[in-house]
Symmetry: C2
Subunit: 356 residues, 2 copies
């Protein structure tokens, strides 16, 4: 088993954690390493479920805060092992932004914070980068909901080391155009389903994204084809073409509203919903959130991407995102995190949770 | 090894030959059965190359005719074994039209025609339904060209049991649209290559097929997308989308002309040619062709689809198509051949080649 280096600082830990490859479904080695790390920490009570881990302090504080992060990444694309930029200010490689920098901050702090001002539930989980029904945090909420009980949650997703509130919802639908199969030498006997998909793509090109203000924060929406597949053989007019469409919608829309929006946009087509997750309102008005915001600088920005803060919102726990890295680099092959973000997040959480 | 039934008529042979499944690449069992049949026929000299067979009469005639057919089919789709229609007039199932009915006519006749009025070279070959560079007839033309020498060729592809001359050419090109990858939660950071493909599909929808008259026969053209593929993951703006396009062009256009036509139509895109085969002019003015046309009724129609008559044309051998089945049903899951076509083609070839 790979072990994390005891003496490592947050930068060295980020490198080590990134270099334990953990593309969704392959989190075990990293979960083992983090489990070993937490079990060597006497003030924590540790639970494991699959490749998810929960480690709790129990120092009898009045309030409890969850600090959570996912262990998995999108597929590696020649961007591991991690490398330090030439000027020594950034770590480059898969996971540095989404979100092993945040995981490293958690790993770094969980040993030091033996007597935090609020009790802490550290949560590490699997399968965040794939379909919502596989999500490890969702699984924990179903099988061990009592372990997630808290007054406030902080998710270490990348936010440029500032606090971001709420998140957009996400929905995926499939539109399948139909045709009539024929030999391509006699195309007039058939109806080409790929040609039929032009209308779907034209509607996507005509779409103008909206920006929606929710609780004072501006949420930018987007509707995009994320996949298209059609074709049977090189000499056959295809009778089917499937377009997968992803809608990122402001947290003021329910999932039903989002679907109705897509149904209007694609009037005349049947929409098959293949994935859906609600957004979350900013949640900045809870006492612990206000306290945390004040502690790290007083501002909160909107989160565009869907994150698991929505799962905490659904559990009735106010939640925000706060983590190292530029979220616009998440999933990009050139993702890289400034070392200053890693230090800022470590410092911000440490200051708030020690009251110093 | 499966054997064909000695006493079987052309209808029974069609059923037996169709029921020996031979999707491209899996022709061996059928080639074995036909080889066994031809080797039991003393007046024929038999050659085998891979899963292709050549069987020649050598009765010293002044002229020689090739009669050829491919053994392979497109993939089976719940349409085997062959069944007889309820009214008893048609055989339904994969290969009945393209072109095991024609193969059955050849198999039926090659034993009977011991002293034909022209020497005959019977050719059965593999890999016709896949990329042109795999074609078994093309391979024979490269490795044993002397065995294909002839004054005239008849290909048993489906023509509704009439003579069809020449064939359209076929070319496949791939257009790949480019974009910039990004997380779909921040789509404005990327450029969606699938949305970019709308322009390619719109040009296909705007295309108006031409009908081109060549040597008095009308050839109908067509340009179609036969495949489209794009998409990386459900939350990624894709940076690539590939559209495969098939052009069926009149035999008056060279392959270079056809490519130039596509380049004008898709001006601004790079075209990657993935498959290409020239068409063939009707070839009805050779003495044997005129003799054959007169013998079976006096008319010749244009062939829309690409067939291997183009390979004979390229070898300097005039060639026509003549076989049972409606060519518009080729590759359709409901392909079916009237028994009357099987009898008509058997009779037409037998009459001409026996001079009776």
């Amino acid at each position: 088993m790979k072990l994390l280096t005891d003496s490592a600082d947050v930068v060295a830990l980020t490198r080590e954690i990134c270099d334990i490859e953990s593309v969704s479904g392959n989190e075990r080695a990293l979960a083992d390493a983090v489990e070993s790390w937490t079990r060597a920490t006497p003030h924590l009570t540790v639970f494991r479920d699959g490749d998810a881990l929960i480690a709790q302090t129990n120092v009898g504080r009045e309030r409890r805060v969850v600090i959570a992060g996912h262990l998995d990444t999108v597929p590696v694309n020649n961007n591991l092992p991690v490398r330090l930029s030439e000027d020594g200010t950034e770590l480059w490689g898969r996971g540095t932004v989404d979100m092993k920098g945040g995981v490293a901050v958690m790993v770094r702090l969980l040993r030091d914070l033996t007597e935090p001002v609020h009790d802490i539930t550290w949560v590490f989980y699997d399968h965040e980068e794939v379909a919502a029904d596989l999500n490890g945090l969702g699984r924990l909420a179903r099988v061990r909901p009592e372990l997630l009980t808290a007054d406030f949650a902080i998710l270490g997703e990348p936010t440029n080391a500032i606090i971001e509130g709420g998140c957009n919802g996400t929905m995926r639908v499939r539109i399948t155009t139909a045709g009539v199969r024929a030999h391509s030498a006699r195309a007039w006997m058939g109806i080409n389903a790929i040609h039929g998909a032009a209308d779907v793509l034209n509607r996507l090109n005509a779409y103008e994204p909206e920006t929606v203000t929710v609780d004072g924060l501006d949420y930018r929406e987007g509707i995009n084809a994320v996949a298209i597949h059609g074709g049977i053989a090189g000499n056959v007019i295809p009778d089917e073409c499937a377009v997968d469409i992803n809608f990122r919608f402001a947290p003021s829309r329910s999932q039903a509203d989002a679907l109705a929006y897509l149904e209007r946009m694609f009037d005349g087509y049947e929409l098959e919903v293949t994935d859906s997750a609600a957004g979350a309102r900013p949640g900045a008005d809870s006492p612990l959130a206000q306290d945390f915001i004040a502690s790290v600088g007083g501002t909160i920005a909107p989160k565009y991407g869907w994150t698991d803060v929505a799962r905490f919102t659904a559990l009735g726990i106010p939640a925000v995102n706060y983590g190292p890295g530029d979220p616009s680099l998440a999933h990009a092959d050139n993702e890289h995190v400034p070392l200053s973000h890693l230090h800022a997040c470590e410092h911000g959480l440490r200051s708030w949770l020690t009251g110093l």
